[in-house]
């Protein structure tokens, strides 16, 4: 027992020293640069090293597969064709609206109705469940995450060791580091904004508030090891405008807010989120809605309009597919933000899935699971493009304007233009539902016809 004691204290000492060293490094290399908005470029070097390792890993797998003479599999999660998720009624209405000048509320059979079924038929011929999953092709790259590897059986011993090392690094070194940083970032945000909130309104308060927000978001960015490339920064949103971006994950907010000072929009939550929200609003006017207010479209529109018209207030950050904070129905802001009449600054965000898949499948993972997955990935690499401002032209309505903005964003980010419809996330339509569609169509036509002949 006596022999254990000095050994014991040695271990404790070592532990103490290493933790101190770790935290000093943390402070110097991560937190201080975040405060001042500079970067040492460590993350870029990290990224390049990782890429080299991934390429090596991929070559090994391909070699292994070739030796055994098996085809490799590359998963296509979303199928090969983009299926429009709009319902039968919507599509038929849209087709008719674009064509005849007849009133829409007396639908009868029209030649254009055949389109919908024709197209659906061709879609199923081109691609159904069977083709959706895999395609035998060369692997682009394996990023040493088992969650993205579908060719497990081709891994050699060397690769397994490397993968194991990767797991160790990610879970035992990176994860605690990132959690510590996230904790620091959030607590600084809450305390910082609360403190700034006590100051009297004025330029000093604004200045401090801006820098507190930016600093904390930058720390959070480092907490996720997000390597972001900003393009066209001269188009950044200005006061009195609305910033509109495509929405892939809750991290989008952090990515955008670390490069600009925005007013957030969302529903007030309880818990930690609520605490953060309440603290933030003390320092600068964000637009938070109570749960009951969220349903009232006019109220929402009114408050947003008021905010936008005040030129001293910050640009609003909106994700027209639905903000990540409040998780209410996607329809809520769909064209609402485009009806307000402010200048719209579109932003395209594109993630590189090589380092970690940032996509949040909210039906599969909860928020906490998702964040953990993010924090145990290698890094989050993305590009942000600031597109030139757009305003609504006199002859277009809100929907057309929204579509115009949507295509601009899709084009810039190299994304499919159906991005807004959220169809990529939906589950496959059940069989019974499909049959329903047919019945629905015939009811639609016949029902109205009968009504008319009766009246």
């Amino acid at each position: 027992m006596f022999l254990l004691l000095p050994f014991d204290s040695l271990v404790v000492n070592l532990l103490g020293i290493s933790i101190t060293v770790l935290f000093t490094l943390l402070l110097v290399f991560i937190i201080v640069p975040a405060i001042f908005g500079v970067s040492f470029g460590i993350r870029k070097v990290y990224m390049k090293t990782l890429l080299k390792i991934f390429q090596w890993a991929t070559l090994r797998i391909e070699r292994g597969a070739k030796e055994k003479n098996h085809p490799l599999y590359k998963p296509y999660v979303n199928g090969i064709i983009a299926k429009e998720p709009t319902s039968l009624e919507e599509e038929i209405k849209e087709m008719r609206r674009s064509g005849s000048s007849k009133a829409l509320d007396t639908p009868e059979f029209e030649l254009s109705d055949i389109f919908y079924f024709c197209r659906k038929g061709i879609e199923t011929i081109m691609d159904d469940e069977v083709t959706k999953r895999f395609s035998a092709e060369e692997l682009e790259s394996w990023n040493l995450l088992s969650r993205t590897n579908y060719n497990f059986q081709y891994i050699s011993l060397r690769l397994t060791v490397l993968w194991g090392l990767g797991v160790l690094i990610r879970y035992c070194f990176l994860l605690p580091l990132r959690i510590a940083l996230a904790f620091t970032g959030i607590s600084l945000l809450v305390t910082g904004t609360t403190v700034v909130g006590y100051l009297p309104n004025g330029r000093c308060k604004e200045f401090l508030s801006k820098h507190v927000h930016l600093m904390c978001y930058r720390i959070c960015v480092r907490a996720l090891t997000a390597i972001i490339t900003y393009h066209d920064r001269e188009n950044r949103p200005r006061n009195g405008g609305i910033c509109v971006a495509n929405h892939t994950s809750p991290i989008d907010v952090i990515i955008l807010a670390s490069d600009g000072y925005y007013a957030m929009v969302g529903q007030i939550h309880g818990g930690l989120m609520g605490v953060i929200q309440r603290a933030m609003v003390k320092a600068c006017p964000h637009v938070w809605f109570e749960r009951s207010e969220v349903k009232d479209r006019h109220l929402v529109a009114k408050r947003l309009t008021e905010h936008v018209q005040d030129k001293s207030k910050l640009p609003i950050l909106i994700f027209p597919e639905g903000t990540c904070i409040n998780n209410t129905s996607v329809m809520m802001f769909k064209k609402g933000s485009f009806e307000i009449g402010a200048t719209v600054y579109p932003v395209a965000i594109k993630y590189d899935p090589q380092f970690g898949d940032a996509f949040w499948n909210s039906s599969k993972y909860g928020m906490v699971t998702y964040l953990l997955r993010m924090m145990t990935s290698w890094a989050i690499v993305c590009s942000v493009w600031y597109l030139p401002a757009m305003t609504r032209q006199p002859e277009e309505d809100a929907v057309q304007f929204a579509n115009r903005v949507k295509s601009a964003i899709a084009r810039q980010g190299g994304l499919v233009d159906l991005l807004w419809d959220g169809g990529l996330k939906r589950e496959k339509v059940k069989d019974a539902f499909k049959e329903e569609q047919q019945k629905l169509y015939s009811k639609m036509i016949v029902g109205n016809h009968e009504d008319r002949s009766r009246s």
Partner: protein, 220 residues
């Protein structure tokens, strides 16, 4: 359908397909996908017959399933001036039919767009005109309406018929204007058909879009 590249048809003694009036701009990756799909449907044979389409479960629910499958074998869709029905089609023909559903490309000029539209409308016209006489008669129109409404088992034949009749009369009024009491409207010709579609931009509705499967642009 992606940036124009040469479209080599993989593995097979097929010459590159181009029987249509516009060149096929599909990426080789998309063609490979379609080829895989073709092989799956044909069970590794070189040609597909009508029975092969039975293996697609989702197609069962489509009310105009028969017409869609028929369209694949309709020679009028496969080659510009031919007629009749083919018993079986090869991959080239399969691609030809699929190409009627290309989305419009950004760089098309007026003339190309117009031709594009006509091709798509012609495809639809052939779907209605089942006896290949170049006219859609009242009976053919009724057939289509009945098929479309066939999902509803409670529907009486009379209702479907009257709907078709009403629609046909309207078509007649658009195409021919006021008809005399003893004038008989023979049927909708292709020119009349085109007239009816004026204003409806089907180019944007009648297409199937491939997901962008190009390697993702690198962000660094």
């Amino acid at each position: 359908w992606g940036s124009p590249r040469s479209c080599p048809v993989p593995q097979g003694p097929h010459p590159p397909p181009s029987p249509l009036s516009f060149p096929l701009t599909v990426t080789s990756e998309q063609i490979e996908h379609l080829h895989r799909r073709f092989k799956q449907l044909s069970r590794d044979q070189l040609t597909i017959r009508k029975e092969n389409f039975d293996s697609i479960p989702d197609l069962e629910f489509n009310p105009i399933r028969g017409k869609i499958v028929h369209a694949f074998f309709d020679k009028r869709n496969l080659r510009p001036e031919s007629d009749g029905l083919a018993d079986e089609i090869n991959f080239e023909d399969f691609l030809t039919i699929m190409s009627y559903f290309r989305p419009i490309e950004m760089n098309m000029d007026e003339e190309q767009l117009d031709r594009f539209r006509k091709e798509k409308l012609k495809f639809l016209f052939h779907m209605y005109d089942s006896d290949h006489d170049g006219k859609i008669t009242l009976q053919e129109y009724r057939n289509v309406v009945e098929e479309l409404l066939s999902g509803n088992p409670h529907l009486e034949k009379e209702s479907a018929r009257s709907i078709a009749d009403g629609a046909m009369m309207e078509a007649a009024s658009i195409c021919v204007g006021q008809m005399g009491p003893d004038q008989v409207y023979e049927g909708i010709t292709f020119e009349d058909f085109l007239k009816m579609w004026q204003g409806i931009d089907i180019e944007t509705k009648m297409h199937v879009r491939f997901l962008n499967m190009e390697p993702i642009a690198h962000c660094y």
